[in-house]
């Protein structure tokens, strides 16, 4: 996963709910449940619904940097790792990217 060329959405059929400010998820394939911490919850909320154009990790990082004081490279690494775990778990999916401006593709937003 490069973070530059792959986009993501929520996976089809995932059950999700907010409990005490954090998201819990149930994957449709194996019905395993996952709890996301505050940052993971924010990432989940930024992911588009299934069958939508996806977003890049850079796009997510751009939004997270508004909230968290963290180095962009560290943030990108952690978001990329989280997305990989979410894809493995079956709660997020690779998807076609939305058409974005060059600045957005570079993660320069925000």
């Amino acid at each position: 996963m490069t973070g530059q060329s792959v986009c993501f959405t929520r996976a089809e059929g995932v059950a999700a709910a907010e409990i005490d400010g954090e998201i819990v998820l149930m994957a449709p394939a194996d019905r395993r449940c996952f709890g996301l911490n505050r940052t993971g919850t924010q990432v989940w909320e930024l992911l588009p619904p299934p069958d939508s154009a996806g977003v890049t990790p850079d796009h997510l990082v751009g939004s997270l940097m508004d909230t968290y004081h963290v180095q962009q490279s560290v943030c990108l690494a952690e978001v990329t790792q989280l997305l990989a775990a979410m894809v493995d778990a079956g709660v997020a999916s690779p998807a076609a990217c939305a058409t974005m401006s060059t600045d957005e593709e570079r993660g320069d937003i925000g």
Binding site: G13, A15, A17, E18, I19, D20, V24, M26, R31, C33, G35
Partner: protein, 376 residues
């Protein structure tokens, strides 16, 4: 009403109503001010979360969703864990619901959803706050036998040893042991003297995840919640007051809603029992119930058989009334009840299920009653 005191309305419910500890939890789950926090603190002085009976733990997710984090203190994380677990459990229930509805839909049977799964997906707006032991689907007497056959053929198994020919529902479980109760009727012939056909006729469209289904109207659901909670000595009978409170707070058109409740209770001849329940919820839990609605329900007719059952329930005695059930079924089908008709039905049940399952069912029932009587 002073918080922690026992109102006349609560006393009126007797042993059929919540006990002192459950009442504190109900206050903590439904009230919106310091009274809720005080009730929670009082409960903690008498009870321990780890040792609580499940009629009490069923209420904990609603409490953690209702109270501020500073009131919950160190228990907040653990209680939210219970709430997440409940949410996940309910998802498995909804999956079972979808599987069962798909089997029935394919055969042209449109079931009506009732009780926990319907309430959890309507008036319980906060996720993971309504415990549900199973999913209740009403198919009506015309489709009942076929519906059970279809589900058994699809891999579901009958699980309840005590179900017989005079019972209103049969419990089925899937391979993951998730349970669906398939109902002939909603409560008839258990508590009501007439079948609730009108409840099925006025059921409304609903959606649970990707599953499209009908559900009871909210006014019928309120009557059902009260009767099931008060009259069954059920191990789940601590949840009904929260159901009532949330239903009463979710009403768009109070005039129509309460008129529909009164009509439904009058049709089934259960008005005074519903009045007693609503009066308690209004006095103790700030349920939004108009006094006129309670007065009208109290003046509505009460079936003679139910009057006896209600009087016994308030003293802690809950009988099955098999002969009464049989007689009601016979009359609803235009037949005259007779001793031979009853004995024939019972004998057929014993022949098909065997004495062992009947005895085991009775033993399990007695154990549950003893546990309920001795719990704190």
């Amino acid at each position: 009403m002073k918080s922690g005191a026992i109102s006349a309305e609560l006393r009126r419910l007797g042993r059929a109503g919540p006990n002192v500890g459950e009442m504190e939890l109900l206050r903590a789950a439904t009230l919106s001010d310091e009274r809720a926090a005080s009730a929670w603190r009082r409960w903690l002085t008498e009870f321990d979360i780890d040792d609580a009976y499940h009629r009490s733990t069923d209420l904990l997710p609603m409490i953690v969703a209702n109270l501020d984090s500073d009131v919950l203190g160190d228990d907040r994380g653990r209680l939210n864990g219970i709430r997440r677990r409940l949410w996940a459990d309910n998802q498995f229930g909804f999956i079972a619901l979808g599987d069962a509805v798909a089997v029935l839909d394919a055969a042209g049977i449109a079931p009506v959803l009732a009780k926990g799964a319907a309430l959890a997906t309507t008036v319980y707006r906060k996720a993971g706050t309504r415990a549900m032991a199973d999913v209740d689907l009403i198919v009506g007497p015309g489709h009942f036998d076929r519906a059970v056959e279809l589900l058994v053929a699809a891999g579901w198994r009958r699980v309840d040893a005590v179900e017989g020919p005079f019972f209103h529902a049969v419990a089925l479980a899937n391979a993951q042991n998730r349970q669906v109760d398939v109902h002939r009727w909603v409560m008839f012939p258990r508590f009501t003297p007439v079948p609730e056909q009108s409840w099925l006729d006025r059921a409304v469209p609903h959606q649970v995840g990707a599953t499209h289904i009908l559900r009871l109207t909210s006014s019928d659901e309120l009557v059902l919640a009260v009767l099931h909670g008060l009259l069954t000595n059920s191990s789940s009978a601590s949840r009904w007051p929260v159901d009532v409170v949330l239903l009463s707070r979710a009403i768009d058109d109070p005039g129509s809603f309460w008129a529909a409740v009164i009509d439904a209770a009058t049709e089934l001849q259960v008005g005074p029992v519903v009045a007693d329940a609503l009066a308690m919820c209004a006095a103790e839990l700030d349920a939004a119930v108009p006094a006129e609605a309670i007065d009208d329900l109290r003046a509505a007719p009460l079936d003679r058989g139910l009057a006896v059952h209600w009087a016994l329930c308030r003293r802690g005695v809950t009988l099955e009334w098999r002969m009464r059930r049989y007689a009601r079924i016979a009359r609803s089908q235009g037949r005259t009840p007779s001793p031979w008709g009853y004995v024939g039905g019972r004998a057929e049940a014993l022949r098909t299920r065997g004495m062992r399952s009947v005895v085991n069912g009775r033993v399990a029932r007695v154990r549950q009653i003893v546990t309920d009587r001795t719990r704190r």
